[in-house]
Structure formats: structure tokens, C-alpha cells
């Protein structure tokens, strides 16, 4: 008797669970009220409503506007809706820390939005797993080719670059003056950098020439400067311990362990890299252009920027977020229209620049002229000059795993536990064992 009751109870609870989950899944984004007047005046017309009079609502998820630019995005949406009255955008903004776990759950649960934002690292995982739709039927010719290419898989455009950032060499002019070294120029090499760093290091016990993180993110770029790469051309094999890569790793590590122009972890003492620069104890720091505002506010000395020095060739960082389409959307054309507008229209670019958000990934740099007028840095052109030497991260499906393995091995080498050669050999072996490049 009791047991039967218990079972019926469980059955009821399960039924309840089903109802709940069904509710979650049934929220079709396309439900919008038809224009009121029309519905009232001619109720018979509902059988065949004119397609353009029926506004379509699409859902858009993003992380990049969280923490300061929610209103900027709202402005863009308003401008878009004014231009395309038949499309309504429902924006959902999720903080970066939760964004990717949330998206993962939604995609797996079949409740992903019509379109959303991805960073370059996660893009590959999603694209290779067939979770993205090709974006077609819209004009994207205004977008930067390198950026577009980054989100093109096997000739199909699965994502549109919506913004970009890059990295330049930021330097403390006062320290250069004190050390009597010429300021960095755009054709500096790693050797020039080393020379300047040593002279600045000599200024004091607590003053260092440079700080450059010895991590995966920095490494894939520096190996490119030495003509190396982490993967072979067609991304079928790892080439982590190649001679070029070893030279790159050795250069970075020697700056900590041999010439000590870069502080080791203990010398750095838990202080953040930007804080070290702003405290006037660093000659140079290759870092993102998103540091400009912080450095403008936080530095009481003169600073400027240059294109990052190369070695056998130049190579600079490029970070981009893209917008992608859910293949299950009911309105692919409207979604593509919105995404293309968001990424490449002048209207959207103007709003973005005016708010001092990030840079639109446009081909035509004239649109960005207002950006160049802000100082410091005086040499702001270096931001665009750097675009000529972009390297893309070696995007593979198991990107996060590869980057963690390499970062871990480099860290061990940077604190002297293993040699640079051992670090790269071990990273190569572990990546080969754990990652199937297919």
C-alpha cells in the first residue's frame, strides 16, 4: 500500500519534471504580437498575413557588453530596429565568467538563442562539432580579410568578426631617457629589445627591462616571430619542439633566468603586470590596446607604443570575437542581416567607437579616424600598423587543452625546474597523447 503510494508519488514528480522541461523547451523566440491595428481591423486576414508586416523577433546572447557596455549595445539594437522595422532583437547579456558554461548547457539542451557571440578559442570547438550555421546572403566585404578568414572553416563563413583587439609594445619613455636608449621603432628586432632591456635593468635593483608572460598565448606569437609554429601547415601534427620554437622559448626564458631583465615570480612578488608598469618599474610591456585607458589614468610618466619587435619576421597578436548563427533558428535571413549589420555597418561602428568600446573589424580604416585622435599614446598608428603582421592563434578543436599543456610546461621552464628543451619535448608528447588532430 505504502509502496504503491510512493510509486505514484514518484511518477507524479517525474511527470512534473517533464512539464517543467517542456516549458523550458517550448519558449519559441518567434512569438511576437502581430500589429494591433491590423489584427483588429481585418481579423480575416490572419490566414495570409503579409510577410513584411509581421515583425520577427530573434534572440541574441553576448558577453562582451557586460560590465559597462550594455547601453552601447542597446543603442546599436535601437539603431538596427529603426533601419529594419520588421526585425526585433531580444538581447541577453551574460557575464564572461558564466557565459561559456551557460552556452554549453543551452546548446546541449536545445535552447540556444538564434545567434550569439563566441571568442576565437571557443569558436573552433563549436564550428568543428557542427553547431553553427553558415552565414550566407549578406554583404560582408567591408570586413577585414584576416579577421574574416579566422572564422572561415573549409570555405564556409561560420562566424563574422564583430570586434578586434591587438597587442603592441608599450614603453616607459622616462626610463628610456634615463638609460640613454633610443625609443623603440617599428622596425626593432628582439635583439634591439634585449639590448634596451639590459640597459634599463641596470638602472636599479627594482627596475626591470620588460615583462612578457611566458604562457601559451604569448608563445604562439613569439614562435611565429622566429619563423616557427605549433602545428604543421595543414594542422595534422604538432610541431611544438621544433628548433625555431626552441629558440623562441629560450629567448623568453633566458630573460628571466639568465639576463634577468624580466622579473621571476618571486621578484614580481604577486604584483600584476600592469601595476608593475604603472608603478614605473618596467621599461617595456607587450600588451593589449585595451590597456590604453588604464595606463592613461594610472601612469604619472610619459609612455608611448610601437609595433612589437620581431626576429626573422614580425608577428603580432590579434584577438577577435565573432557572432554566430544557430542552425536551428527559424529566421536565418533575419539573423544574418542583424549579424552583418552589427559587425560591418558604419552605423554600428560609429556607436562602438563613440562609446570607446572595442574596435570594429573593418577593412576601411578611415572609419576609425576618430580613434587615432586620442592621445596618449602619440604613435596610435602603431595599432593599425600592427595589423599588417597578424598571426592567428592555431585554432583546433581541443584548443583549451593544448593551451593549458603548453602553459604548464613553459611555466616549469621559466622557474628553472626543467630546461626549455625538456618543456617543449614534454608539451609535444603530452599534446600528441591527449589530442587527436583528426
Amino acid at each position: 500500500m505504502k509502496i504503491r503510494k510512493l510509486f505514484s508519488l514518484i511518477a507524479f514528480v517525474l511527470a512534473l519534471a517533464l512539464v517543467f522541461s517542456a516549458c523550458g523547451g517550448a519558449q519559441t523566440p518567434a512569438q511576437t504580437d502581430p500589429p494591433q491595428t491590423q489584427a483588429q481591423d481585418t481579423p480575416t486576414e490572419t490566414e495570409a498575413p503579409p510577410a513584411e508586416a509581421e515583425p520577427v523577433t530573434i534572440t541574441y546572447c553576448n558577453f562582451n557588453s557586460s560590465g559597462g557596455n550594455e547601453e552601447t549595445l542597446a543603442k546599436m539594437v535601437a539603431a538596427f530596429e529603426a533601419e529594419y522595422p520588421n526585425i526585433k532583437i531580444e538581447v541577453e547579456t551574460i557575464g564572461y565568467d558564466d557565459y561559456f558554461t551557460q552556452m554549453q548547457t543551452r546548446v546541449a539542451g536545445g535552447t540556444a538563442p538564434d545567434c550569439y557571440e563566441l571568442n576565437i578559442e571557443n569558436f573552433a570547438a563549436y564550428a568543428n562539432k557542427g553547431l553553427l550555421a553558415e552565414i550566407t546572403g549578406v554583404d560582408v566585404s567591408g570586413l577585414n580579410d584576416t579577421a574574416l578568414n579566422a572564422f572561415n572553416v573549409d570555405g564556409k563563413q561560420y562566424g563574422l568578426p564583430e570586434s578586434f583587439s591587438n597587442v603592441v609594445l608599450i614603453y616607459n619613455k622616462d626610463l628610456f631617457d634615463q638609460a640613454g636608449v633610443d625609443y623603440p621603432t617599428d622596425d626593432w628586432t628582439q635583439a634591439d629589445l634585449q639590448n634596451a632591456a639590459e640597459k634599463i635593468r641596470a638602472l636599479g635593483d627594482d627596475i626591470y627591462g620588460i615583462w612578457q608572460p611566458i604562457t601559451y598565448n604569448e608563445f604562439f606569437k613569439v614562435v611565429a616571430q622566429y619563423g616557427g609554429a605549433l602545428l604543421n601547415e595543414d594542422k595534422t601534427a604538432f610541431t611544438i619542439n621544433s628548433p625555431e620554437n626552441l629558440e623562441a622559448a629560450q629567448t623568453l626564458i633566458d630573460r628571466v633566468l639568465v639576463s634577468n631583465v624580466q622579473p621571476n615570480a618571486v621578484q614580481q612578488g604577486g604584483m600584476g603586470d600592469w601595476d608593475m608598469f604603472m608603478s614605473g618599474r618596467l621599461g617595456m610591456i607587450p600588451t593589449g590596446i585595451w590597456a590604453f585607458q588604464t595606463f592613461t589614468d594610472g601612469c604619472d610618466f610619459a609612455w608611448d607604443i610601437a609595433v612589437e619587435p620581431g626576429s626573422t619576421q614580425k608577428a603580432t597578436h590579434f584577438f577577435s570575437n565573432c557572432v554566430v548563427m544557430n542552425p536551428e533558428t527559424e529566421h536565418p535571413q533575419e539573423v544574418a542581416t542583424w549579424l552583418a549589420w552589427l559587425a560591418s555597418s558604419t552605423a554600428s561602428a560609429d556607436i562602438r567607437l563613440e562609446a570607446g568600446w572595442d574596435l570594429p573589424a573593418l577593412k576601411d580604416l578611415d572609419a576609425l579616424s576618430s580613434y587615432l585622435e586620442i592621445t596618449p599614446p602619440d604613435n596610435r598608428e602603431a595599432v593599425f600598423e600592427s595589423l599588417n603582421y597578424l598571426v592567428l592563434p592555431p585554432v583546433i578543436e581541443d584548443y583549451a587543452l593544448m593551451s593549458d599543456i603548453i602553459t604548464q610546461k613553459l611555466a616549469a621552464a621559466a622557474d628553472g625546474t626543467i630546461t626549455a628543451q625538456e618543456a617543449l619535448d614534454q608539451a609535444q608528447a603530452e599534446c600528441e597523447a591527449q589530442i587527436d588532430l583528426g
Binding site: V13, A17, M271, A400, T417
Partner: protein, 308 residues
Amino acid sequence: MKKATKDNLKRQGAGLLTASPFLLPSLAGMVIFSLLPLLISGMISLTDWNGLDKLTDPDFFQKHFIGLDNFRAILTSKEFWNALGNTAEYIVLYIPSMLAASLLVAYLLSRPRRGIGFFRVIYYIPVLTSWVAASLIWKSVLAPQYGALNGILGFFGIEGPGWLLDEHWAMPAIVLVSVWKDAGFFGLILLSGIVGINKTYYEAASIDGAGGWTKFLKITLPLLTPSIFYVLIVGMINSFQLFPQIMIMTGGGPNGATQVMVERIYNYGFRYYRMGYAAAFSWILFAIIMVFTAIQMKGQERWVHYDD
């Protein structure tokens, strides 16, 4: 009397029916948020699911089923044994120091003195602090060159280690922070145990001429063993589930010295897109916790004294 019991039973039967609607909310919560996920994670652990492909796909298991491969791969990986070793190091350092600290807190708080309420609050504050905030603060306290701790040590002429940046000191540093955080909570549990001890034992011992230390050793400690047992079990389970402090203070570094199981599970599930592997990993963790708890339950007969 007999009749009354019968009536009670009858009423109980009817009562279950009446009670069900009231039980439903919490029961539904348990089924939806604990029982179902438990079953589903068990099934996922037998697949190569990446965490992104649709779970609702009717052919899901045909496509993804790989049997016990995940378990085999985990148990033969160096990483798993490294994480387990690090967890063991944590437990060996954490359990005794946590127990000592909690006992001290409980003992101090059990002495009648002015403003005791104030001190109880002080010791309990770390417990209420969020792990994220506490970890961030400790990270700067433990910073080798400019951190407060090494500053204080330097004052006494001791050159402090690199703490979180040093392979050998990172885990002890994590233990230190965890003890600071947990001593208040476990101390409170032990305190309630101490307060519950019958005063007459102490009076009798005083008459027999026992000193403070003897009384603590011969009366307080034995009669406190049920509370200590509880503290040990909970402390052990928490140790195996060690995560937020690691995530924020070291991220598993330096050089993998603080990699622990939950940190691996998180990374495999949500960063490396290997959800099946992560699910299997968490079932292994579950089994380990289960075994250790069972051993403790079995072992308690030898040393836990219940005062009745």
C-alpha cells in the same frame, strides 16, 4: 492505551496522503536536482559526450556509448594519480591542523569570560566569508615580496618562502587558508559538544584532585569523540572536494603541484569539452569518498565514546 496507538497508526496512513502535497516541493526538488542528475551523470560517464551535442537526440547512446573506456583512461593516467597524491597531501596536512585549531577555538570559547559573544562572532566570520573573497585576500597576503605574511616573518628575521608560487609551499599555503576558514565552523560544532558534557564529571574529578590538563585529556576529549568523529567525516569529504581556493589562488599550479580532482573535473567538463570523461572522473571521486567514509564509520567503534 492500545486503542490510541491503533488510532495513531490509522491516522498516520491517512496522514501520508494529506502530507504528500506538502512534501512534494522538497521531494520534487530532490528528484529534479539531485536524483535525476545523479542517474544521468552515471549514464554520461559511459559515453564520449562532448557536452555540446544534444542530449535529447534519440540515438544519443548508440552514437556515444563507449563502455568503461573513460574509467580505464582515467585510472591509467598520470594526471589522476598526481591529483590524488596532491589531495592526499592536503588531507594529511589539513585534517590534524584543522582539528587542532578547531579544538583550540572550541576550548577558548567554552571558558566563561566577558564579551564571549564578541569572540564567537570573530571566530565565525571567516566561515561566513565567501571563498572567492577570502581566496583573493589571502592571495595578496601570501604574495612573496609585498605580502603581509612574509612582511611579518621578515620582521622576525625569517625569510618567508614563495608560498603559492613555490611548488613545495603551495599546498601548505592552501591548507593554511583552509584551516583559517574552517576552524570557526568546526570549532562551533566542538564547542556545542563541550558545552553538552555533564558538569558533574568535572566536579568529581576536581574533588579527586585532577588538574586542568588531566581533566581535558581524561574527560573532555573522550566525551567529545562523537563531535570529533563528525568533524573528521565532514572535513574528509570537504578535502576530497577541494576546489574554490585552488581555482582562485593557484589554478592548479605551480607546475601541477596543487592540481586536485574537482579542478580536473571542471576543466574537462567545461573547458576541454570532454563531459563523458569528466562525469567518469566524478564517479571515481564519489567512490573514493564513499570508501573512506565507510572506513571511518567502521573504525569509529574503536575510539568514539557515546555518553549515555
